[in-house]
Symmetry: C2
Subunit: 217 residues, 2 copies
DNA sequence: GGGGCAATCCGCCAAAAGGAGGAGGCGCCC
DNA sequence: GGGCGCCTCCTCCTTTTGGCGGATTGCCCC
C-alpha cells in the first residue's frame, strides 16, 4: 500500500477540528499532518508541511478562507484544496472555484461523502456538495448576473438611465433627445455619474456600464 | 408509501433501454412508464405521458437530445430531465444545463449513482457526473472562450494596441504618451479604428473592446 | 414648514475629440 | 522599381466633453 494522504485542517473551531481529525484518522489511507485555526496560520502550515490536500473553512479570523486559498495556490499551484464551509452563497462558491479550489463542500455532508471527496480531489477531480451544483449551474446560465451592491446603487434612476444610453456611445445631445431632456441636463447627469463612480471620462463610464451589465437593460 | 416516480426513457439503443428499464423496475419507488428511440418521439411521449422525470440521450436520430430537451421544457417548464450520455464534451454539458436540464450523467456511472441522481433530480437538485463537475468549473473560469473572428482581425497591431488603451478610458494625449507617439498619430489610429469597426465614437470603440476581451490583454 | 434630494434648466470656458486633407519613411512582394 | 500597407506626423476646422458656477421645481420625511 502507498503512503497515506497527508491532510491539513484549517478551521477556527477547535472542536470541529478535533472531531474531523478523529474521523479521518480512522481511515488507514488518510493522515492529518497539521491543523490551523486561521487563514494566515493555514497558509504558513501549507507551505511548511506540503500536504496532499487542505480542508479549508471560509469564515475565519485574521485571514478568511478565500484569501488563504489564493495565497496557498500562488505558492503551490497544484495543491488540492477543499473548501469546507457552512456558506451556501453562490458568490462564495463561484469565487473559490474560480480561484482554484478543488472542491466546495458544505459542513452538512456525511462522513462517507467527505472521505470520498478527499480521495477524488487528490486524484484531480472537482467535487461539490450536491446542493451547490445547482448554484454553479445558475451561474453558468447568467455568467454576469452580478447582483452585487456597488457604486451603481448610488446612482439615481435618471442617472442610471443616462449611463445606459451613454454606454451605447451616443452624444449628450442624442441622449437628451432620447430622454426628452435638454443637453445641459444630460451633462449634469453625466457629471454626477463620473463623480459618483470616481472616474473621469465618459469612456470609463461606458466600460463600467458594460462590465456591470447596464448596457442592455 | 407514495406513488412511484414515473420515468420516461429516451435513447436510440434498444438494448440499453431494456437493461436500464430492468434495473429501474427493481426499485419499488420507480416505474418506467414509457420509452422512445429518438428525440422527436421522446418529446411526444413526454407531452402525452407527463412523466416525473426523463432520462434523455444526446446522440439520437431524427432529433438530438439537446433539441428534444428544449422542446420538452417549453411544454413543461418544471420537468426534470436528466441527460444520460457518453459525451464528455464541456460544450454539450454547458448547453444542456443552460437550456435547463436537471442533470448531466455519463453512461459510465454505476447503478446506485443513477438511482440516487434520479431521486435527487425529482426533488429539484441538480446532479452531475463527477467527471463533469470540473468541466463546469472550467466554464465558470472562462465564460467567454473567445471563438471570435471579427472585425478585430482587420485592425493592425498598432490599432489594436491603441484600442486597448482607449478602452481604459484615457485621452488621446495619454495614449500617445503610453505608446510614445504624437497625439496626432493616435488620432489617426482612432479614426482608422472607428472606420474599420463601422462605429462613430470612441465610446463605442471602448465598449467593443471590452466585449471582445481586448480591455486587459 | 424646513431640509434634503432628485431632476430640470442656464451660461461660460478650456480641453478633448472628430473629421478632412496631405506627406514622408519603411518593409514586403511581384 | 513600383505598388501597397502600415506607421508616423502635420495643419485647420468644427463639434463635443468636462468642469465650474448658479437656479428652480417638486417630492418625501421628520
Amino acid at each position: 500500500m502507498t503512503t497515506p494522504l497527508r491532510i491539513l485542517l484549517v478551521d477556527d473551531h477547535t472542536l470541529f477540528r478535533s472531531g474531523l481529525k478523529a474521523l479521518l484518522q480512522r481511515q488507514a489511507d488518510l493522515e492529518v499532518i497539521g491543523e490551523a485555526a486561521d487563514g494566515l496560520e493555514g497558509v504558513k502550515q501549507a507551505t511548511q508541511l506540503q500536504p496532499d490536500i487542505v480542508l479549508l473553512d471560509l469564515d475565519m479570523p485574521v485571514m478568511n478562507g478565500r484569501d488563504a486559498l489564493a495565497q496557498m495556490l500562488v505558492g503551490q499551484p497544484g495543491l488540492a484544496v477543499l473548501m469546507l464551509t457552512v456558506s451556501e452563497d453562490g458568490e462564495d462558491l463561484a469565487e473559490c472555484m474560480k480561484t482554484g479550489a478543488r472542491g466546495y463542500l458544505l459542513k452538512n455532508i456525511n462522513a462517507d461523502f467527505l472521505l470520498d471527496s478527499i480521495r477524488r480531489a487528490v486524484d484531480g477531480d472537482s467535487v461539490l456538495s450536491p446542493e451547490m451544483t445547482a448554484k454553479l449551474v445558475a451561474r453558468l446560465r447568467a455568467p454576469v448576473a452580478a447582483p452585487r451592491h456597488s457604486e451603481l446603487d448610488s446612482l439615481t434612476p435618471r442617472e442610471r438611465e443616462t449611463l445606459s444610453h451613454l454606454a451605447r456611445g451616443i452624444s449628450n445631445k442624442e441622449i437628451a433627445r432620447a430622454l426628452d431632456l435638454a443637453e445641459s441636463t444630460v451633462k449634469v447627469h453625466v457629471q454626477n455619474i463620473l463623480r459618483k463612480l470616481g472616474i473621469s471620462s465618459r469612456v470609463q463610464a461606458a466600460v463600467y456600464a458594460v462590465e456591470h451589465g447596464l448596457d442592455k437593460p
